[in-house]
């Protein structure tokens, strides 16, 4: 079917590696498909036979519960079979290369591999080695495309259109693949993106992606429609990117007090897990403007859409 007939482009990718590579039209098709899949999760029988007989493998080289579980549920609600590999119990600890591990999984006739890996670019590398589809579930500090898509989906549900919307990404932009996927996706959908955090956690030349940079949250806060608050990665604090947790919370944490300076209908988002009292106060995280749990619900729908579209592309 041509675009003129259905209003949507034809999906042709076996892989989803980044939002940088997707067109606005492809993003719109994923979001539209995800809307239909959200309804499936609200049924009493939360399952459709769309991917019956297909096999999906979760291949996680970094610990993750929510993303892995979200993909697992998404695959199951589409009737695909899913198997889980994690680095601690796989043969990578015995010295096998990524390519060999994946080719062995593929030899078992797996259709799509969902991979999280600490090295940036690993998903793209793998997609070139395999006939199976590869979905990037986070590669180093590069991208986490399904998180970007579910964030856009959640914003669109509340705000209808992203055109001209002011979205602020707050916190550790330097180490955040979520931030990079958000920036690519949001820009394509017409939003105005600001990144805000301590200078040590903002990558150099990030302006080249078309974002505004600020080190002063209180100054940019009043005009924002959406605050996407990134997790402070406490495990990286040995490198001392900021003086102390308490100082970070005072400068960049979203507290009830700070919320008074924001728009009344500002959306509060967080990819989880939340460090309560550091980047986000408990009251705000549980408050009426918070959509953190909606993000989790929408994550399953968006991942169903991505698995459905990529797995049915001819290999």
């Amino acid at each position: 079917m041509t675009k003129a007939l259905t209003g949507y482009v034809q999906w042709t990718r076996k892989d989803l590696l980044s939002l940088e590579e997707l067109s606005k039209e492809e993003i719109e098709l994923v979001l539209h498909t995800a809307e239909s899949f959200k309804e499936v999760s609200s049924r009493e029988v939360k399952k459709v036979p769309a991917l019956r007989g297909k096999t999906v493998a979760n291949l996680f080289f970094e610990s993750s519960t929510r993303t892995r579980t979200s993909f697992e549920l998404a695959a199951k609600r589409l009737s695909a079979d899913i198997i889980n590999f994690s680095s601690s119990d796989s043969s990578s600890s015995k010295g096998e290369s990524l390519r060999d591990t994946a080719r062995n999984i593929e030899a078992m006739r797996v259709d799509t591999i969902v991979m999280r890996h600490p090295s940036s670019g690993s998903a793209e590398y793998l997609s070139r080695c395999l006939k199976a589809g590869v979905i990037n579930a986070g590669d180093g500090i590069h991208e986490h495309p399904t998180q970007g898509l579910l964030d856009i989906f959640t914003i669109r549900e509340r705000k209808i259109s992203l055109q001209g919307l002011n979205v602020c990404l707050i916190g550790d932009i330097l180490h955040s693949r979520v931030a990079r996927s958000n920036i690519w996706g949001l820009k394509k959908m017409g939003a105005k993106v600001t990144v805000c955090g301590p200078p040590t956690l903002i990558p150099k030349n990030i302006e080249e992606l078309g974002v505004e940079v600020s080190y002063d949250l209180d100054q940019v806060l009043p005009k924002q429609d959406v605050l996407n608050i990134l997790r402070i990665q406490l495990e990286r604090q040995s490198n001392a990117f900021f003086p102390s947790i308490r100082e970070y919370a005072a400068e960049y944490g979203i507290s009830n007090e700070r919320m008074k300076k924001a728009k009344k209908d500002v959306m509060i988002m967080h990819p989880g897990p939340v460090n309560r009292g550091i980047e986000l106060s408990g009251e705000v995280a549980d408050g009426s403007q918070s959509v953190i749990l909606e993000q989790v619900t929408n994550g399953v729908a968006v991942r169903m859409a991505v698995l459905f579209l990529t797995t049915l592309v001819e290999r």
Partner: protein
């Protein structure tokens, strides 16, 4: 070559007759619900709902079904279907469901729709209403209410055009 099967007035008359038949067969609107199959079946279901209301004075629950996730050829089609919304906000248990579609051909769409409906509940009965029955069934399926039976060959295409989707109101058959 294009041949006109139904013009706007005869299309409307066919729907009115089908509404009467639905009410006659089911002895009224008690426990009756309509479900239209995306895309044109949804519009036809809305029109049947209106006709049933005009005749009986009662509103019947009406839902929308997308059958693409239940297709038997999903992994074989070269062009992926765009998945559209399913909206069924009433209980199907013990109801008489009238499935509505524009054209009945191989019967595979209806097979998918039956599978989908069973996932939503256990209707007392499922009936089928189609505007055009063009023959060439590949499955043991038949319609309970038919707007017009049209003998066709397999290299013909039936086009149902409705104001809401196509800007005009007619049913035509043409060579592929």
């Amino acid at each position: 070559m294009t041949k006109l099967l139904l013009d706007a007035p005869s299309l409307q008359r066919a729907l009115t007759r089908m509404a009467h038949e639905i009410l006659e067969k089911n002895k009224g609107v008690e426990g009756l619900a309509l479900i239209g199959i995306q895309t044109r079946g949804v519009i036809l279901a809305q029109r049947l709902k209106k006709a049933v209301q005009e005749i009986s004075g009662h509103e019947v629950p009406t839902g929308i079904l997308d059958i693409n996730l239940y297709r038997d050829d999903l992994t074989k089609v070269s062009e992926q279907p765009v998945i559209r919304k399913t909206v069924i906000d009433f209980d199907l248990d013990d109801q008489t469901i009238v499935l509505v579609d524009d054209v009945l051909y191989t019967g595979r769409t209806i097979r998918s729709a039956l599978d989908a409906l069973i996932d939503f509940g256990r209707p007392k009965k499922i009936e089928l209403a189609v505007l055009i029955d063009r023959g060439h069934r590949e499955l043991p399926i038949r319609a309970d209410f038919v707007g017009k039976n049209v003998p066709t060959t397999e290299n013909e295409i039936v086009h149902v055009r409705l104001t809401e989707t196509d800007g005009q109101e007619e049913v035509v058959v043409s060579e592929k």
